[in-house]
């Protein structure tokens, strides 16, 4: 009888661990299966940048982009989240691109005359219709390139 009770507790614990693993697996699968499709026509660089974010949360990515290549930036959020907002900013804090001014586009194609370190600022906006708990979901940032 006591053993049966312990078994139940162990099963609850195992379920929570599995849920944890499953959230990660979903994020990885989301990036690989769905977000990567946004890079069609470009070669994905192979880097993995994805995390579970909640409405109102944000992320930043720092990367050096080199001249002589065409780049595609793709930012995707899972279905549970509202459309993801993002900006691309240079070292002088100039906003080079803001997807809110481009119909919340998920991708941006660009090329550079000279190499630059840029910052990508990503934000999960809070949904207009407030739920009891804010939604969380996977957000993935991917880069593709093409030789010019």
């Amino acid at each position: 009888m006591v053993m049966k009770k312990y078994l139940r507790y162990i099963l609850i614990f195992a379920a929570l661990v599995m849920l944890n693993l499953s959230v990660h697996a979903q994020c990885k699968g989301f990036a690989k299966k769905l977000c990567k499709l946004e890079l069609t026509g470009y070669t994905h660089d192979g880097n993995y940048h994805a995390a579970i974010l909640t409405e109102g949360e944000e992320a930043e990515l720092y990367k050096t982009f080199y001249s002589g290549q065409n780049y595609r930036l793709a930012i995707c959020g899972s279905e549970a989240l509202p459309a993801i907002e993002y900006q691309v900013v240079d070292a002088y804090k100039n906003v080079l691109y803001d997807n809110r001014q481009h119909d919340m586009a998920g991708t941006w194609d660009f090329t550079l005359e000279s190499s630059q370190q840029l910052k990508i600022v990503v934000k999960v906006p809070v949904a207009e219709q407030k739920a009891e708990f804010p939604n969380s979901g996977c957000v993935s940032i991917m880069f593709g390139f093409q030789e010019k």
Partner: protein
């Protein structure tokens, strides 16, 4: 009574552990104590890392092995197999750090070989990568199907590049999602350093002034600041313990840092030229690069010494 108390404690502990694990998954890699700020608040003064602590989640992106190889090729290098890390070395790597560094190094070598259509070499390097990845517990990085697909498409460079990209994505996502961000960072540094090594080896000891490859190497100073930040972020693990491999790597990179400090790379503000009919936005700016022959030699020597140490 005691049994009941014990049961209550057991279920509480298990539930708390479960909750902690779940919460941990949601906050993985986030800066503690970060404050939420709006997008409009980010545009203040000074350098690009200024407001870094305010962000909830930080990613550092280095050129991947594939991008590194493409940058080298576009700078005009010729293929020479002698520069690659010998496949005979693959059995020498016994520590996590050496396996991770050489996983990155071999992936850059593979990328370079495939960009120059070296079919048989590509296959052999993919085998070495599979071996190291398996030893690191990343069994799904290169499976039999991947190898078969590679064999069947060796004459199709686009497919080969896609396979390399997928392989690297598999290993980096596995490491990052299994609390091994530090190992993922070491893999990236290994691949990036191999690019520097190949570039300086190809440029030689006395490159002509204005050499495109030397400028490409100097520009890596911009990525080196990202290397530093990424390693600093992984210096202490979640348990608050110092990560010895990362600390050692930071110390080993001192000579490279010192060489980069003597190289000047200045970038102007960017002017945006909206997309033309090709839908590609052009970011217009200027970069001034000043590399003296002495600074170049110092960088080449530091990179060569470190890379040769890593592959031994």
């Amino acid at each position: 009574m005691q049994d009941k108390y014990f049961n209550y404690r057991l279920v509480s502990i298990l539930f708390l552990l479960g909750l902690l694990l779940f919460a941990g998954s949601c906050k993985m890699g986030k800066n503690q104590g970060g404050k939420e700020v709006g997008l409009e608040d980010f545009l203040s003064e000074e350098d690009i890392f200024d407001d870094i602590d305010k962000a909830k989640k930080i990613f550092y992106s280095l050129p991947s092995p594939l991008e590194t190889a493409l940058l080298l090729k576009s700078a005009g290098i010729a293929y020479n197999e002698q520069v690659l890390n010998s496949l005979d070395n693959v059995d020498k790597y016994s520590t996590t750090k050496s396996k991770a560094l050489n996983l990155g190094i071999y992936t850059t070598d593979l990328s370079l070989a495939s960009l120059f259509d070296q079919a048989q070499t590509s296959l052999k390097y993919m085998d070495a990568i599979k071996k190291l990845a398996t030893e690191m517990g990343i069994s799904d990085a290169v499976d039999e199907e991947t190898l078969k697909r590679l064999e069947q498409n060796l004459d199709n460079r686009d497919v080969v590049m896609d396979i390399i990209s997928e392989t690297f994505l598999n290993s980096s996502s596995y490491l990052k999602e299994n609390d091994q961000q530090d190992v993922a960072a070491i893999v990236l540094v290994g691949g990036w350093l191999e690019g520097l090594y190949i570039g300086s080896w190809m440029a030689g000891d006395n490159p002509a002034a204005g050499n495109k490859l030397v400028d490409r190497l100097a520009e890596q100073k911009l990525s080196f600041s990202i290397v530093e930040r990424m390693l600093q972020d992984n210096k202490v693990n979640k348990q608050g313990n110092e990560n010895r491999d990362i600390v050692e790597l930071i110390n080993e990179l001192h000579a490279v840092k010192s060489a980069f400090d003597k190289i000047e790379v200045q970038t102007s503000a960017v002017r945006v030229d909206e997309a033309d009919s090709s839908q590609v936005t052009v970011l217009k700016s200027q970069t001034k690069i000043n590399v003296t022959p002495e600074a170049y030699k110092e960088l080449k020597a530091a990179v060569e010494s470190l890379r040769n140490n890593f592959v031994q």
